[in-house]
Symmetry: C2
Subunit: 680 residues, 2 copies
């Protein structure tokens, strides 16, 4: 007797012999090949499409004859007639294996398909969503064997999909009976089974085959803005992205002022909780409308945020986060009903997953950055810096990951800067100073031209030139240092010392004039000595945090630096290093990760394995608390110099020469005063 047919699946390479007549879908299941199916092999969902190959395959050692699969049957013919089947494709649940054959499972037919991350071409998300669709045929009620409709649905899911146990909210149970009857006892259910085990949850049910898909919302809940991606939970595709301002800003610009608001106003935390939950509902409604989708199809959300936002979202008073020892109510990941957070705009049974917090100052957003940037999978030692009002830092490689936060303050976001402003049209975002003439040229947000290019004035007439945003002030200070307008201690030279009238006296210190818009009714934009001091404080805190992690790790250098955060995407690595914000590494080893926290949220949304991984990793991360580290202050002081008082920054100096200027005349400015204090 002839051997059973040999079937080889690509791209997995899984192979084995199956009885002649075995359906391709069954063969795939027998061999552990990842082949999707929603309808369970009934020839209606078309998720199990495969591309068989015929001919001689020396690589696989088989010859597939043209009749290796059964002829099209009536189901395939009808499917092709009604919906169209791509050339060369077969329905895996219909085609039977009759002889040796090579069968390719195209990406769209794989459950655990790879989704390319736009932000990082080298990495992909492996789809492993918690919520999936299952088509089932449910037994009709029988008076001789009375049982509830829900119990019969449970039996169908057990027998047809191997889902052992299910549960559901009362609201879902309440719609079960009419849907079962409308669908003639054939229904599609959305079943949520996350990485934590326990009974699976039925989130929704539709009569017949539901073809509307399932969606999830990955939410990066920042202090200032709330950004969200609406993702297809089957393909991982981002269908729409949107952002709104965090309405809590009216209670306080930064986190600590919101904590204060809660302390000073009884019930203030509840007001802020209400505000942010409402904003999330508006965001969900808007993003679903953008994508042309019913918001009820949003069955999952993932939220990442800092600890204060975390507590305000959960409805916890954040007061303990405002004072040592910065105790969180809970640090572990939260798997909730979205309704627990009053997210009423989406599916009423939707689930919410909130990533774990790392520590009282290092939140779920930092965990999301870790998930996105994977420092723990890096062969080289990488420093990941999420720059914001508080900077979160992760340092690690395959050996170990450390984390801390550092109180940089809002200077990097343009706050506390004399001409500072938010990143908005009209803000200077890039700036260069000619080392010879010491004249500046710059670009403003909303215009692609440099200020010395023709047409710039016309192009910016509408927006005006209104101030300097975070990346602009970093470039301005670094360029001033490169151009010799600023010494290593952070003093701006006078017009005489620097040879440019743009270095104007301002009391006992100096300021560098970037742009005088007064003729057009705009502002005079300068970098003052006070601005330099604010940037120095911020960058010293950031660098000191990084050094503290390096101390803990016992190293003096890192191999590469990743700048995360929306702001990180706009920072020029060279200028950041001139400023001494980050440790010295070859410039090409400084990369931007864009909104890594948002990406981490998206990864957690699409993958249960990622949720399990980040929960494990966060437990293993070494937490370093800057507030109580004795060496923090020492590192902070040394980091005040630009780029640094003692660290040599050899890679930086190979790229750019920093003039050895010194503008301290002994008697002027606050620097002298500081020196005197230090001597005392």
């Amino acid at each position: 007797m002839a051997q059973d047919p040999l079937v080889i699946f690509t791209p997995s390479g899984k192979r084995g012999r199956v009885a002649a007549g075995t359906r391709v879908l069954d063969a795939a299941r027998q061999l552990g090949v990842d082949l999707d199916s929603v309808c369970g092999g009934r020839g209606i969902c078309s998720k199990c499409q495969v591309a068989p190959s015929f001919g001689e395959f020396s690589k696989h050692g088989v010859t597939a004859r043209p009749d290796a699969l059964s002829e099209w049957n009536a189901v395939e013919a009808r499917y092709d007639r009604v919906r169209g089947l791509k050339e060369g494709r077969r329905l895996g649940c219909q085609a039977q294996i009759l002889g040796d054959v090579v069968i390719d499972v195209p990406p769209e037919s794989q459950v655990h398909r790879q989704v390319v991350r736009k932000d990082a071409a080298v990495r992909a998300i492996t789809m492993d969503p918690a919520t999936r669709l299952h088509f089932v045929e449910v037994a009709e009620p029988d008076m001789h064997e009375p049982s509830g409709d829900f119990e019969r649905l449970a039996r169908a899911l057990r027998e047809q999909w191997g889902i052992e146990e299910i549960t559901a909210e009362l609201s879902l149970m309440g719609k079960l009976q009419p849907v079962l009857r409308k669908g003639g006892w054939k229904v599609t259910v959305a079943v949520f089974a996350d990485h934590r085990g326990g009974p699976a949850r039925v989130l929704d049910i539709w009569p017949g085959l539901h073809e509307g898909g399932l969606y999830g919302l990955a939410i990066d809940l920042g202090s200032t803005t709330i950004a969200a991606h609406l993702c297809d939970l089957d393909t991982g595709e981002v269908k729409a992205s949107a952002g709104v301002m965090n309405p809590q800003i009216r209670f306080g610009e930064d986190l600590m002022s919101r904590v204060s608001y809660s302390m000073m106003n009884p019930g203030g935390d509840r007001e802020m909780t209400k505000a942010v939950r409402e904003a999330l509902n508006r965001l969900a409604t808007g993003i679903a409308a953008d994508a042309g989708l019913d918001p009820a199809l949003i069955v999952e959300t993932v939220v990442v945020c800092n600890p204060v936002m975390h507590h305000l979202l959960m409805g916890f008073d954040p007061v303990e986060l405002g004072q040592a020892p910065f105790a969180l109510v809970t640090s572990q990941a939260m798997a909730l009903a979205a309704s627990d957070l009053e997210l009423t705009a989406i599916n009423p049974c939707a689930r919410t997953y909130v990533l774990p917090c790392i520590a009282g100052h290092v939140g779920a957003d930092a965990a999301a950055v870790a998930l996105s940037e994977e420092p723990g999978l890096s062969d080289e030692l990488v420093l990941v810096v999420d720059v914001g009002t508080n900077a979160e830092l992760l340092l690690g490689d395959r050996t170990r990951v450390l984390a801390c936060s550092s109180p940089t303050g809002p200077a990097f976001e343009g706050a506390q800067i004399s001409s500072g402003q938010r990143a908005a049209p009209g803000a200077i975002e890039k700036l260069r100073i000619d080392p010879e003439t010491r004249e500046p040229r710059f670009r403003v947000i909303g215009c692609e031209l440099w200020s010395d290019e023709p047409g710039f004035a016309a192009a910016t007439a509408q927006s005006g030139i209104t101030g300097i945003c975070g990346s602009g002030i970093i470039e301005a200070v670094a360029e001033m240092r490169i151009a010799g307008l600023l010494d290593a201690s952070g003093l701006i030279g006078s017009a005489e010392q620097t040879g440019t009238p743009r270095c104007e006296a301002e009391g006992r210190t100096h300021a560098y004039l970037i742009h005088d818009g007064t003729a057009e009714g705009g502002p005079r934009i300068t970098v003052t000595q006070g601005d330099i001091r604010a940037i120095q404080l911020a960058k010293s805190a950031l660098y000191a945090g990084a050094r503290l992690l390096m101390d803990e790790r016992g190293v003096d250098a890192v191999d590469r630096v990743t700048l995360a955060g929306a702001f990180g995407a706009h920072i020029s690595p060279l200028h950041a290093m001139v400023l001494g914000m980050i440790p010295d590494v070859p410039l090409d080893r400084v990369t931007s990760a864009g909104n890594a926290a948002g990406t981490g949220a998206r990864i957690a949304l699409c993958s249960r394995a990622a949720r399990a991984r980040i929960e494990r990793e966060v437990r293993e991360i070494t937490k370093v608390e800057t507030a109580i580290a004795p060496r923090f202050q020492e590192h902070f002081v040394a980091a005040s110099a630009i780029p640094h008082a003692s660290d040599p920054f050899p890679h930086l100096r190979a790229e750019v020469a920093l003039p050895e200027v010194g503008f301290n005349t002994g008697g002027d400015g606050d620097r002298g005063a500081r020196k005197r204090r230090r001597r005392a």
Copy 2:
């Protein structure tokens, strides 16, 4: 070296040697002795009180010297000074075992103590509540090892109480931080861990030692009335009981009219759901006030009800229960947050347990009756009848339990009876007819006197004599049969045939006059031929249901009958048997179980083991659907006669002689018509 001391605990008899110096509480734990403790051995809760005995115990083979336990220590002395320790008592967590000793654990120091059921002296509830108090000391936050307060609480419960994993609602987490700090990191938590396993749930938290107790509400949610017992979850004691009318009555008197209301009025089910949930909240508030307790101390509720009430409570449209095949949304037991049912009057984290339904017509109330009456533990074959608008029947013994419901209609409750009324003051509830004079005498609700006793008129002047309630009509019909006023076919004789003018002509049939109150402005109360027919229909259905179960079981007789339901408590066994409502058994084998459903709810409230048991038993019960049983109709017709057309009822006939009268004159009444139809 001397042997370790021998300790013998009573009443368990558990014994063993422990190292000298072992605390009594630790010894109890080592030996598996049930000794309570809330504070975990810190000498503050006093739950671990024991009564040591000294002297010679030949029975146990030990001699306990007076110094077998350590002297009172400072903790015991302080406790005695502040709170008083009963003579001879010691705190188990303080007293150390130094020599052989016999130690009695009094009932109040046992976790699994027995609570006597007032309704059934021979049975007791073994306390095994799902929610218990635990006093814990929680570690303070540490910046070097950042963790959430909740995680440290979890660790404390794991280390101090062996509770492996906990979870909690967001609202509980939100109150964690202030309570921990107020209690100086010593708190009492109410931990819910039910029979289903999974993480334990923290339901509430108090600073320091909480001494206010924990309470539960056992609710019997009937179509007409809602009754509840407020129970102490530690002692099992009933602190208060209360009942309210089911406000759904305004949507329909009986269940089917409520189902119709839902069918005819879109959203009608939601109106009824809202009404019943509001009633439960009012009931909880009222009963807590009666007991002088904070309703927030009610942390659990158990609900039993029929399937229609079950669905309306859950928020499920009951429409499918109004038509074959009577499919339930879900039949399994429900473990819910009380907030899922909008039970906002009690603790916000309270849990609700709803017993499983047996079938579409046999609800969680029948399951509760099974839990209370335990037919599956009976050596004899017992029939349990819960009499109401629908009668639920359980037949069983240790071998097997069967269940069905029978559509008796509301006649047994006085509805559809010409002079019928609800059981309320003024209603005739007991009635006797003198077999000689054929004169009636009766009692009305609200008066202890019989109508032929002196003072009756004065005593009933206030209430009047307004009608006949359910138990009254059963006695009236049975007494008419005994007195020869009614023949076996159910015909009332004429005045000539019976020799009493009270048998009045009414059209072509007759009615028996019980009381003429017209002179006092009251009604004429009679039993009409129509009333007899209504009772016949009801009792035939009940008897046919019982017979159907007996058929399924393959028996012709049962050993005993239990009448359950508030109404069951008022039915006279003799009269029920004369009527042929129940199968023939010796009269002393008919007992009343009172509100067995309510008792079952109380048992489930106090015992996780009982919840597990009833879930298992309900799965194993053989469900018999009367609506599709071919023999039901046959049994129904045969049961129309009073007491029965073919079953001999020997035990009944030994008790009372039933006159062999016959009032069918061939041409009169509907009986003749029926005979003619049957011949055709």
